[in-house]
Symmetry: C2
Subunit: 400 residues, 2 copies
C-alpha cells in the first residue's frame, strides 16, 4: 500500500505520535528491507474482561495488520505472578503461572474479535525476565534518573500528595521499556497516559544501540457515564464479550455529549464520516437516531451485522417498555385498525373527539414514538405499547 | 563482662544509637542464649587505602570483639563488579572478581591492625546477591516507598538541586539492608551519614520476621585540614598503612581546634582522659605537646609503641629544621664546647658580650629549643641547627 495512504490510516484516531516526523522513514525502511513493522502493545493478564476502551489501540493494530505489518502482544505475566509486594493491595494477590496463562488465553480470544490471528505474535515477559539477575536489573535501572521519573505526572502527583509510591513501582516502566528491546519493536501502541512508559521504551532501545521505536498514543475512552474513564471498577464499561443486546443498550445509555467521541475512537468511521455526524448533531437531528447508528456500528464491529440488527430490535422493544406499569390491559389486534377507532374502542379515549385532540397535541405515543397522523391505519407484528398522555397505557398484542 | 560495663564501652565515642533503649535487651538476650552478638559493618572494595577515619567504627568493632562478640565484615563485591551503569563516572569502572578479591584482601590487612582475626567473619555480598533474580528484587524494593527515600537528605538534596540521581542508586540502600537479613545482624556499625541505610536494614529485618538490628553511628572524622571530612580524594587523610613517621607528621599538622575531636574519635582514650585533655587545652597548655601525645597515641594504635617513639624523634628532628636555608655553613664539633665559645668561634656572634646578650634574650635556639644557660657545654651526636635571632644559622655536624 502507498506510504501516504498508510500514514493517513495510522493517524486516524491517534491522539499523539512521537515523533511523528519519523513515521514515514520507518514505513519506508520496512518497504526497503521488505519486512513488516513490529507493532508492540502490552497487556496485563491480571484481569480477563476486555472492554471497548482497551480495544482502541488494538483496532489500530488491526489497521497495521491489514497493511501487512505484525502485531506483537506482550503479556505481562512476569509482574502478574509477583502481585503486590507491599501487601497493601489485597485485590492483587500473586497469580500462578497457570492462572496467568488462562487469563491470557481468555484475553486473547477477546482481542481476536478484532485482530488478525495470522499476523499476531504473542510474547511473554517471562521469556526474558525469568533469566534476569540483580546485576542486569541494576544496569537497566542505571539508564534512568529519578528526575526523569518524577517529571512523570503519575509518579510526581502521588509523591507530592503524600500517597504511597512503592519503590518497585518505579521499576515497571523500566521493565516495559526493556520489552521493546527484547522484541525489537518498531512501534508501540498505548494510551496517552502511558506516554512516559512508551518513551522509556524509546530510550531503552537507544541505550541498547537499536533503532528507536515510535510511540502512538490514543485517548482513554470515556465510560458510558460520560464522566469517568471506562474501567471495570467504575462499572461504566462495554465489554467485548457482553451480549450484543447489552452492548447496544450500554451504548444507547451514553450522554449525547460523548456521541462524537465514541464515533471517533470506538468505530471504524473515517474522518469524513465523523465530520458528517458532527454536522448532523449540530443541525439538531434527534440524537437518539445518531446514537442508534453508533450502537449498531459498535455491535457490528465485535459481533457482526445480523447480531447488531437483532440487538437493535430487542433494544427497541425493551426501550419502548420502559416506565410502563407491568399490569396494563392487553388488546388483541387482528390486522390493521384506524388509530382513532383503536383509541376509542379500547377505552383509552372517551370519544373520537378526544382521540383526535390527543393525536393533535402529540400526546399519543406508540413505543415512545409520537403518532400524529389522524388517518393512520395501524398494524403490528409484535407487542407494542400504546400510550395516551402520561398515565394511560394499553399493550397491543398481535393475534396469533 | 558485666552488662552495664559493656554498655559504657559501647557508648564511648558513639554519636547515636538507634534505638539506645534496646541495647541492654540485646546484650541480655545474647547472654541468655549464650551466644556472641553479630556486629555488622560493610566495606566498599573499590579502593584499597584505609584511613583512620574509616577505622572509627572498626575500633568499636574491636571493642565488641574484646567483649566476646563477633565482628562481621560485609565486602560489597557485588556492586563493585557492576561499576557505574550510567557511564557518567569514569573513575568507577567495573572491577573483575579477581580485582575485588585483591582489594578486599589489602583492605582486610589494614582492618586487622585493629580487629581480632579470630573473632572476625568475612562475608561477600555476592554470596546472596549472585542468586537473586528480578522477582526477588521487585519484592525487596516493594518494602520501601519513594517518600522514605526522599526523606533521606542525600537523595532529596541531589534531587532538589537537579543533580543526577540514577535510579539504580536508590537500590543500594535496599541491598545493604538485605545484607543484614543474610547475616542475621544484631548490630550494625557505620557513619552518621549512613543512618538511612542502617535504619533500612532494621526495617528489612522486620519485614523478614527477624529481630531488628540496632544501629550504632559514629561521626565522620575531619581531615587533617580541619575543614573537610577525611577522604582520599581531598588528600587530607592519615592512612593506616602510612609510615609511622608520616602518620605522626600528619597528626601534628592538624589545627588546634580539632585536637579534642581526634582524641575523642581516633584514640582509645576514655571519657575521663578526654575531659582531662580538654581541661589542659583550656588552661593554656602548649597545644604542641598535647598534639604530640595525640600523634603518639594514634601511631601506637596502628604501629605499636616503639614505632611511635621513633616517629616522634624523627618528627622533632625534621620539625626543628623547618624554615632553615639549605645552604647554611657547617661547623664540625669535636666533643663538647662551651656555648659562648661556639657562638663567637663560629662567627654567629661578633663577641662573647653579644653571645651572652643573645642567650639572655632567648634568641639562641638549638633545633628550635631555646638555650639560655650561659654555662652550657654543648655536645651533639647528630646534625643539629644552631640559630641566633631570625636569620643567623649554623649546621653543627659531629666529627666522624
Amino acid at each position: 500500500m502507498d506510504i501516504e495512504k498508510q500514514i493517513e490510516i495510522i493517524k486516524n484516531g491517534a491522539e499523539e505520535i512521537v515523533p511523528e516526523s519519523e513515521l514515514k522513514q520507518k514505513l519506508l525502511l520496512a518497504k526497503k528491507e521488505d519486512r513488516p513493522l513490529r507493532v508492540k502493545m502490552g497487556i496485563d493478564p491480571t484481569g480477563t474482561d476486555v472492554h471497548i476502551g482497551h480495544m482502541v489501540p488494538i483496532r489500530k493494530m488491526r489497521d497495521f495488520q491489514d497493511m501487512g505489518h505484525t502485531g506483537v502482544i506482550i503479556i505481562g505475566d512476569f509482574t502478574a505472578r509477583i502481585g503486590d509486594p507491599t501487601g497493601r493491595d489485597e485485590s492483587r494477590p500473586p497469580l500462578t503461572a497457570e492462572q496467568t496463562r488462562e487469563n491470557a488465553a481468555t484475553y486473547m480470544e477477546q482481542l481476536y474479535t478484532v485482530l488478525d490471528r495470522d499476523k499476531t505474535e504473542i510474547r511473554w515477559q517471562s521469556e526474558w525476565f525469568d533469566g534476569l539477575n540483580l546485576a542486569d536489573v541494576i544496569n537497566l535501572l542505571g539508564k534512568f534518573t529519578l528526575a526523569q521519573f518524577l517529571a512523570h505526572d503519575t509518579f510526581r502527583k502521588r509523591y507530592e500528595n503524600g500517597l504511597p509510591l512503592a519503590m518497585h513501582e518505579l521499576m515497571y516502566p523500566v521493565l516495559q521499556a526493556y520489552d521493546s528491546v527484547a522484541i525489537d519493536a518498531d512501534i508501540e501502541l498505548g494510551a496517552t497516559e502511558q506516554k512516559f512508559n512508551l518513551l522509556c521504551g524509546r530510550d531503552m532501545l537507544r541505550y541498547f544501540g537499536k533503532p528507536e521505536q515510535i510511540a502512538i498514543m490514543f485517548p482513554i475512552l470515556l465510560g458510558t457515564d460520560g464522566v469517568n474513564k471506562m474501567s471495570k471498577s467504575m462499572g461504566n464499561y462495554v465489554a467485548v464479550f457482553d451480549k450484543p443486546s447489552d452492548k447496544y443498550g450500554k451504548v444507547m445509555s451514553i450522554p449525547d455529549e460523548i456521541i462524537l467521541n465514541y464515533y471517533k475512537y470506538a468505530t471504524r468511521m473515517t474522518p469524513e464520516d465523523i465530520s458528517e455526524i458532527d454536522r448532523q448533531l449540530k443541525s439538531g437531528e434527534n440524537p437518539k437516531f445518531i446514537k442508534q447508528r453508533l450502537a449498531r456500528e459498535i455491535v457490528t464491529l465485535y459481533d457482526g451485522e445480523s447480531a447488531a440488527k437483532e440487538a437493535e430490535e430487542e433494544f427497541n422493544r425493551v426501550f419502548s417498555q420502559r416506565n410502563i406499569p407491568t399490569d396494563i390491559e392487553e388488546y388483541v389486534m387482528d390486522g390493521s385498525i384506524w388509530i382513532v377507532k383503536l383509541l376509542t374502542d379500547s377505552g383509552l379515549c372517551q370519544s373520537s373527539g378526544e382521540a383526535r385532540r390527543m393525536l393533535k397535541q402529540g400526546a399519543v405515543k406508540l413505543d415512545d414514538e409520537k403518532l400524529d397522523d389522524m388517518d393512520l391505519n395501524l398494524e403490528i407484528n409484535h407487542e407494542t405499547i400504546l400510550k395516551v398522555g402520561k398515565r394511560r397505557f394499553l399493550k397491543l398484542v398481535p393475534k396469533e
